[in-house]
């Protein structure tokens, strides 16, 4: 007979995610990452290496970056969790970090992007005007397999500029143009 690895029953868990309380009945050892993805359907949080190295699953817990693949959903009870879905600006449009990653091509396949964005959001909140060296240090715990990181550093610095209300373009290559038409513009 196999040992019972289910931890003896299921528990009701309530976690505040992006400002909204969510409840689900889960195994006590349900990972926060699986809880977000599979129980709440918040699939913006991605699972990459599954043991805390790559940082793709990073979410903010009470504002601090945490690996959601190394945390149980029950441990997140009574805490405020912010995922990539919760990073939009006050007006519902893209937040500064999100805008910067779009403009500076700070992503390719996009799988690592949510983890970078949550990490960078917390970093810039605490360090609004980082040097390039500080920016590199801040995101050195996250892995990206596509970009070679150059545009991610540019994105962090650009996000700091946007937060400060400066209008300069993305350092290095010029900033891109929006691909979506402005609201209300007809085709043709």
């Amino acid at each position: 007979m196999l040992p019972d690895t289910t931890g003896g029953g299921r528990v009701e868990v309530t976690v505040h995610v992006n400002g909204v309380p969510h409840s689900a009945t889960v195994e006590p050892r349900r990972l926060l990452s699986d809880f977000l993805r599979h129980d709440l359907g918040l699939t913006g949080t991605h699972v990459g290496c599954e043991h805390g190295v790559c940082g793709a699953c990073t979410v903010l817990v009470d504002g601090e970056p945490m690996r959601s693949c190394l945390m149980f959903a029950v441990s997140a009870q009574h805490h405020q969790v912010t995922t990539v879905e919760g990073l939009a600006g006050a007006d519902g449009g893209l937040g500064p970090e999100q805008r910067a990653f779009v403009e500076c091509h700070g992503l390719q396949c996009g799988f690592c992007t949510p983890g970078f964005l949550t990490t960078v959001t917390a970093f810039l909140r605490d360090n609004p005007q980082p040097s390039a060296e500080e920016a590199r240090e801040a995101i050195s715990g996250n892995l990206c397999r596509c970009t070679g990181y150059q545009n991610i550093v540019r994105s962090v610095l650009r996000a700091a500029e946007i937060r400060a209300g400066r209008a300069a373009d993305c350092a290095g290559p010029p900033a891109g143009q929006p691909t979506a038409p402005p609201a209300g513009e007809a085709v043709g």
């Binding site: 913006g44 929006p178 043709g188």
Partner: protein, 820 residues
């Protein structure tokens, strides 16, 4: 300028635009295959039973205990397969094997209501194994004569005569490691069956058509009964070119047997222990130089570590042979290739597809021989460049060799290479325990699939009555920006703003018979097809517009969503108005596009031809600093000039160059695959099966200064809008880092020291190179000097030398019979 390459006025191609899905990615709305789980009702989860032996016979498989586990619905075994029990196209990789061929091989799959139920079910399956002798390393395979597939020879001239006339002959041996793809999104497939029996598979696949083919043959269906869609991939790098098929087939088999959607998503441990990697290689070689250091002859035998089945090993080997020359003219050449059969994962495509491995052999030779010739390595490389009129060993004229020179000169100039080399010499003279070095290396990489038939593509373009455009093409998006480029191509050809055009996910029921998104050729091939479809529509619209504007159709111009005559003072029509008018005139507003790369031919029976449409060039200079006590090093600066033709999308292309270089540097310096080579029961187990033990490039390994420029005046006649492919070639720019490390290690010895450097050149490997430089200073490393030298093993004639099965039209294809 060709019709294919010519750009209209104010084209959207060449503009700097963000990735087409960027807004979705930064908000978490972009969907990957496994994100569909939360959106799919009644889904079952698949979990493999992995064998704990490198090689064994399955003597008993009892699934009954698994079925007793709560939540387990079914166990899939070989008996369940209605069609062909094989996950590949060469019928050498059974999907449900009776013989375990590598440690971690899945022998059956358990379906559960939850992933946890499936996992517990997999633990409950009882399997008895009879362990068999195993071959784990490529050296063991060579000694045992364990090979698979064809053993080609690429030959030009008389290699013995070339070596005999050479002033210097060296010979040696080199073995280097493969590479794990470590795409951040692991393999994932979700399959379901509709009310009419149509199988629909969503898969993270670079090759939806082949996934469709394999699913069909496993299920005993025809291709039109299976549809495969790929929304996007979280990285592919070649690892999802052939490897997804079996997992998709397991999901599809489960869906057909249970009537419920089935998800097969490998967790990271499963992905890294079950799926194939870049081939490591072993090489034995002899090389001849004249008195001036010009290459005279190369005699080499390359043995790739193929793993347990062929997969893509034959074409990977072909590309390795075709790239051993890199950018260098070698008059007399004989290169043999063979594929070892080892009890490991089935090694597969990985960015460069053998090209990097072939080139690494020669770059290693040049790096080791330069000190023995008394020639600076940069001079040795530069003086051996191809010049106009010369051809590769397989007979293809080398077009635009001057671009390698231009890129080299630009790197030397903008990288201040000469003055920095003086600074480095001064630094090294002043520092006993720390040494620096700068190396500069070129890349010449052939673009097109080696096999000519694969160089075709299709597209489907719809213009709706309101003027909006929807495009679909056969290529898949894995982050490389292909979809972004295709949107730009369509907007350019139709002369509309970019936001008029949308792109729908890649599906086999939209565009059939596609080639893999691979060989860097995604934009070349699919761009040609999108352009062709758009041109058909544009020509029909020009008829309508010509009539309304009173100008000949050939004089109608489409630009920025406006349509006018050639003369600037004619009337203008809004694009959407013209489209509406055309609809009422009953003009077809959609088109299927097709593209085939012209001018290619390749005869694998003699290993000759012109398989490549063109060559992509690039040059990199890298400066490193090595600590003599530990071998630890850092990359101080990298300068790159790379040839992308006239860029379709500069931001995308720069990102590909930077990312490719870093991935190459990872392969060559960090990423250390270790298999258990002992005789313990864990023999054959991958020891580095997680990101904690398999070191991927991170910020701390990035060059402190990293300058990347696109080569100017680089128009390419033979490709869409004058562009060149960019996916793979930049990976090989990372040779500069490896050669710089070698030179820095050698600087710990006296001038003229040749050191061997293991690959990957981890700090430990560099430490041993430093030790070698200090201790064996007067010797030649492990390079032997003199003719005839160590002659590489030659084929003995008992295996086919040429024309691998994979390059022949399949005779046994599951063709539609008359009674269907």
């Amino acid at each position: 300028m060709s019709a294919l390459s010519e750009r209209p006025a104010n084209p959207v191609v060449g503009e700097t635009v963000p990735h087409e899905s960027a807004a979705l990615h930064v908000t978490g709305r972009a969907l990957y295959t496994d994100d569909l789980v939360a959106r799919t009702r009644d889904l079952l989860h698949g979990y493999p039973v992995q064998a704990p032996h490198a090689h064994a016979r399955v003597t008993r498989l009892d699934t009954a205990p698994a079925l007793a586990v709560p939540g387990v619905v079914r166990v899939l075994t070989a008996e369940d397969v209605p069609g062909v029990n094989d996950a590949g196209i060469k019928h050498d990789e059974p999907l449900f094997p009776s013989e375990v061929m590598y440690f971690g091989h899945a022998v059956c799959w358990v379906l559960g209501e939850t992933l946890e139920a499936a996992r517990l079910g997999a633990l409950a399956v009882e399997v008895d194994y009879e362990p068999l002798p195993s071959v784990v390393t490529v050296r063991e395979a060579i000694e045992a004569g364990s090979f698979q597939g064809a053993q080609p020879t690429m030959e030009r001239g008389d290699v013995e005569a070339g070596l005999a006339r050479a002033e210097h002959v060296f010979s040696g041996e080199f073995e280097f490691a493969g590479q794990e793809h470590f795409y951040l999104e692991t393999h994932a497939s979700i399959a379901q069956v509709d009310e009419n029996g149509q199988v629909f598979v969503q898969s993270s696949t670079q090759h939806p058509t082949e996934t469709q083919d394999i699913v069909a043959h496993v299920l005993g269906l025809h291709a039109h009964e299976v549809t495969v869609q790929c929304l996007r991939m979280g990285g592919g790098f070649g690892g999802k070119e052939m490897q997804p098929h079996g997992y998709a087939a397991v999901a599809a088999l489960g869906a057909t047997l249970t009537g419920r959607p089935v998800r097969v998503r490998l967790n990271r441990t499963q992905d890294i222990t079950m799926t194939g990697k870049r081939h490591g290689f072993h090489a034995t070689w002899r090389v001849g130089f004249d008195a001036e250091g010009r290459l005279q002859a190369l005699d080499a035998t390359l043995t790739s570590d193929g793993g347990w089945s062929l997969d893509l090993s034959e074409p990977v080997l072909a590309r390795a042979l075709c790239h051993i020359d890199n950018a260098y003219w070698i008059p007399d050449v004989r290169v043999n290739g063979r594929i070892s059969k080892t009890n490991k994962t089935s090694q597969t495509a990985f960015r460069g597809f053998g090209g990097p491995q072939g080139m690494l052999v020669l770059e290693d030779i040049l790096g080791r021989c330069a000190p023995l010739l008394g020639i600076d390595p940069a001079d040795l490389r530069r003086r051996n460049f191809y010049t106009e009129g010369q051809a590769t060993p397989y007979g293809q004229p080398v077009r635009h060799p001057d671009r390698a020179v231009a890129a080299w000169d630009q790197v030397v100039q903008t990288g201040d290479v000469d003055s920095r080399r003086r600074e480095i010499a001064a630094f090294n003279a002043a520092h006993q325990h720390t040494k620096r070095a700068l190396a500069i290396t070129p890349v010449k990489f052939g673009i097109s699939f080696n096999l000519t038939a694969f160089n075709q593509a299709g597209a489907l373009v719809h213009v709706y009555k309101d003027g909006s455009v929807l495009i679909n093409h056969g290529g898949t998006e894995m982050g490389q920006g292909l979809h972004t480029k295709m949107l730009q191509v369509a907007a350019t050809t139709l002369g509309v703003p970019l936001h008029f055009v949308r792109l729908a996910p890649t599906r086999t029921d939209k565009v059939p018979n596609t080639s893999a998104t691979a060989a860097s050729s995604g934009a070349d091939l699919n761009g040609g097809a999108v352009k062709n479809a758009c041109e058909q529509i544009r020509e029909r619209l020009a008829q309508v517009a010509g009539g309304r504007l009173g100008v000949p159709p050939a004089d109608v111009r489409f630009e920025g969503g406006r349509v006018r005559g050639l003369a600037h003072d004619t009337d203008e029509i809004r694009w959407a108005d013209l489209v509406t008018q055309a609809y009422f005139q009953r003009v077809q507003l959609w088109a299927a596009g097709f593209y085939r790369t012209e001018g290619l031919h390749w005869d694998s029976t003699v290993f000759r031809g012109e398989p490549f449409k063109y060559f992509a060039y690039g040059v990199a200079a890298a400066e490193v600093e090595v600590d003599g006590f530990t071998g630890a090093y850092r990359t101080r600066r990298v300068d790159i000039v790379h040839d992308v033709g006239d860029s379709l999308s500069p931001l995308v292309d720069l990102g590909q160059i930077e990312g490719g270089f870093v991935q190459g540097a990872g392969w060559l310096t960090l990423e250390d695959l270790r298999w258990d080579e002992s005789d313990r029961p864990t023999r054959g187990r991958l020891a580095t099966q997680a990101a904690s033990t398999y070191k991927l490039p991170s910020f701390s390994e990035m060059p402190e200064e990293f300058n990347v420029a696109l080569l100017e005046k680089a128009h390419e006649e033979g490709a869409v809008y004058g562009s060149k492919a960019v996916g793979e070639p930049p990976l090989m720019l990372a040779f500069s880092v490896r050669e710089a490390l070698r030179q820095a290690a050698a600087a710990f010895g006296p001038p003229g020291t040749s050191v061997d450097l293991a690959s990957p050149a981890t700090p430990e490997a560099v430490f041993w190179a430093v030790e070698q430089a200090r201790a064996r200073a007067a010797e030649h490393g492990h390079v032997a000097e003199g003719f005839p030298g160590m002659v590489p093993p030659q084929p003995n004639g008992d295996v086919p030398r040429y024309h691998p099965r994979s390059e022949r039209p399949p005779a046994e294809q599951h063709a539609l019979s008359a009674e269907v």
